[in-house]
């Protein structure tokens, strides 16, 4: 069998069909539109099934904690009457230490039900550990593929810790160097083993996160008598935002503002061997966040269930230093020691809470566990070893890949709004460019309006103006 890069990539459709059990062709409506709800429902589990399956392996029903000291601190630097109550959903309480257990639980159950002997996941983060943990519970074998090392064989400490966790759960782990060929290796391993592809972007992965959004709404309602005004979610591939927003709606919370937060790593190239170890956050950052909003169908499967642009009301950025500072606040003021990457949304929340009224409720959607390799001290030691300057100062002076500036005081924590309307336009532009020569129908325009969270008229005008451009 020809195992060269191009040969394997040319077989990807068949390999993935065997490895996911999903026939994506059946869901295509046109070159532009596909049946999204049909895809989300293709895994035939009812809402009650999903909740029961997660409960079986100890996933979910995590505590909702009000951060009273942090709220008080934020109020002390807010205008009078401002400073919403900040709550956090302690997802670190899940079996492998993050909300990713919700993404893995249903997928692994599904793999076992379909008769697969094992699962494969390409993940350098908590998702790999979640898959390995759930596979152990369901007696399936697990192979985890991780992008860990640069060409000097220097490993990002966060990811080295994930290797340890995956191996602790009994998985076979491939520690790879930098490169998008991670997808190629995944295809080869799937072909050799006939294992299930535990992709982050298939329905079983997304529907697990809906339980998180649902719990957020339910718990807040039970404890406080109303739904949260704002939920802040870390955004990378879009699954977190999508699942949380859908879950909120399922619980009846239709007015909650959903804000996505990414760590600002603009300027760093994600496939660069040189840039790889110049960042302190392997995920939850703009390197995934922006491209996945502009074009979600860039994943290991033909159509992505994670469609962040459909569900985001607002998109903001935060710097690495602000997240490290926030991690210190959570430990010292609230007695909760949690991993920095999982505090990206909390850092955003500290800034956003100042915009809201005192009696409003702002919910931070996650935390993650912490261990060697993950703490701010691990990451900052590593950053300094890799030539990054670390100092206290104004975080606005941070330059990703060059400096990490840790705020001097909490009032310097400030999100940067990313122009989401520009992203919505880019997405529509991409959809038209990708299908050059095809003329969008009314159904396509309706699909694009939903997918971009705009209107029929806006999409139609945009498509017309783009067609005029290309016709010239």
């Amino acid at each position: 069998m020809d195992n060269s890069y191009s040969a394997v990539m040319s077989r990807k459709k068949d390999i993935l069909k065997r490895a996911t059990g999903i026939d994506y062709d059946k869901l295509e409506i046109s070159p532009i539109a596909f049946d999204y709800e049909g895809l989300m429902n293709s895994c035939e589990y009812s809402w009650e099934d999903v909740q029961r399956i997660l409960q079986e392996t100890g996933v979910g029903n995590t505590p909702l904690v009000e951060l009273k000291n942090l709220t008080e601190l934020v109020r002390s630097i807010s205008p009078p009457g401002k400073g919403a109550r900040i709550f956090v959903k302690d997802e670190a309480a899940n079996p492998s230490g993050s909300f990713k257990d919700r993404r893995a639980a249903l997928s692994i159950f599904h793999a076992e039900k379909l008769g697969y002997k094992g699962v494969v996941a390409a993940s350098s983060g908590n998702y790999g550990a979640a898959v390995a943990s759930q596979a152990a519970k369901r007696a399936l074998k697990a192979i985890i593929l991780q992008e860990v090392y640069d060409s000097r064989k220097v490993g990002q400490p966060e990811i080295l810790e994930k290797t340890r966790a995956c191996e602790a759960y009994g998985a076979e782990v491939w520690q790879l160097t930098v490169g998008p060929e991670l997808f190629y290796i995944m295809l080869r391993v799937l072909e050799e083993t006939d294992f299930f592809s535990a992709s982050l972007y298939v329905p079983t992965s997304l529907r697990g996160i809906e339980t998180l959004g649902y719990e957020l709404a339910q718990q807040t309602f039970q404890q406080e008598g109303r739904f949260p005004d704002m939920v802040v979610v870390t955004h990378a591939g879009g699954g977190n935002v999508t699942g949380t927003a859908r879950g909120l709606k399922k619980a009846g919370s239709h007015d909650t503002v959903v804000v996505g937060v990414s760590v600002d790593l603009r300027g760093l190239h994600m496939a660069s061997d040189l840039d790889f170890n110049r960042k302190s956050f392997p995920t939850g950052h703009t390197g995934f966040g922006i491209p996945f909003l502009k074009w979600p169908d860039r994943t290991d499967v033909p159509r992505n269930c994670a469609r962040g642009l459909r569900y985001l009301d607002r998109y903001v950025l935060i710097s690495q230093g602000e997240v490290f500072y926030t991690t210190e606040l959570l430990a010292k003021l609230e007695g909760m020691e949690r991993g920095p990457a999982g505090n990206t949304s909390l850092a955003g929340a500290i800034s956003l809470a100042r915009e809201l009224d005192r009696d409003q409720i702002l919910l931070v959607q996650e935390t993650e566990y912490t261990a060697a390799g993950k703490l701010p001290s691990s990451q900052l030691t590593f950053a300094k070893e890799n030539g990054i300057e670390v100092r206290r100062g104004n975080p606005k002076e941070s330059v990703p890949g060059k400096t990490i500036v840790i705020p001097e005081s909490v009032d310097q924590i400030e999100v940067e709004d990313f122009d989401i309307e520009k992203i919505r336009y880019s997405y529509i532009e991409n959809a038209i460019k990708m299908t050059e020569g095809y003329v969008a129908t009314r159904e396509d325009i309706l699909f694009l309006a939903e997918d971009s969270k705009t209107t029929f008229d806006y999409v139609r005008e945009t498509v017309e103006s783009l067609n005029i451009k290309t016709a010239n």
């Binding site: 002390s76 060409s151 782990v173 160097t177 606040l329 060697a372 900052l380 840790i406």
Partner: protein, 100 residues
């Protein structure tokens, strides 16, 4: 007497793609280096030295081959050094809360 014997926990190294086998649309530095990986398992060969071509049984019982890289590999990621840029934050914010 070899570096490792049958059944020892070892780590192998594999070159998946040489630079000229990697796709073209990569940053130049990435394209100029091989795509490699490291995997752990239990040595199948009777005995082997670092640098030998060996077979291992992985943690899920699969047989893989590669070059013996390390015997009894340890996890050496750690908590790092104390960071002066972080150490005072806790007391700073406590003082601020006490004042309000």
């Amino acid at each position: 007497m070899t570096d490792s014997k049958r059944g020892d926990l070892v780590q192998i190294h594999k070159i998946i793609l040489e630079p000229d086998q990697r796709p073209d649309n990569l940053p130049s530095r990435t394209k100029s280096v091989p795509y490699e990986c490291w995997i752990k398992g239990f040595l199948i060969n009777e005995g082997a030295n670092v640098g030998d071509e060996v077979k291992i049984q992985t943690f899920i019982g699969r047989e893989l081959s590669g070059i013996l890289y390390q015997v009894s590999p340890i996890y050496d990621h750690n908590f790092g050094e104390p960071q002066k840029e972080l150490l005072s934050i806790g007391n700073e914010v406590r003082k601020k809360l006490e004042r309000t």
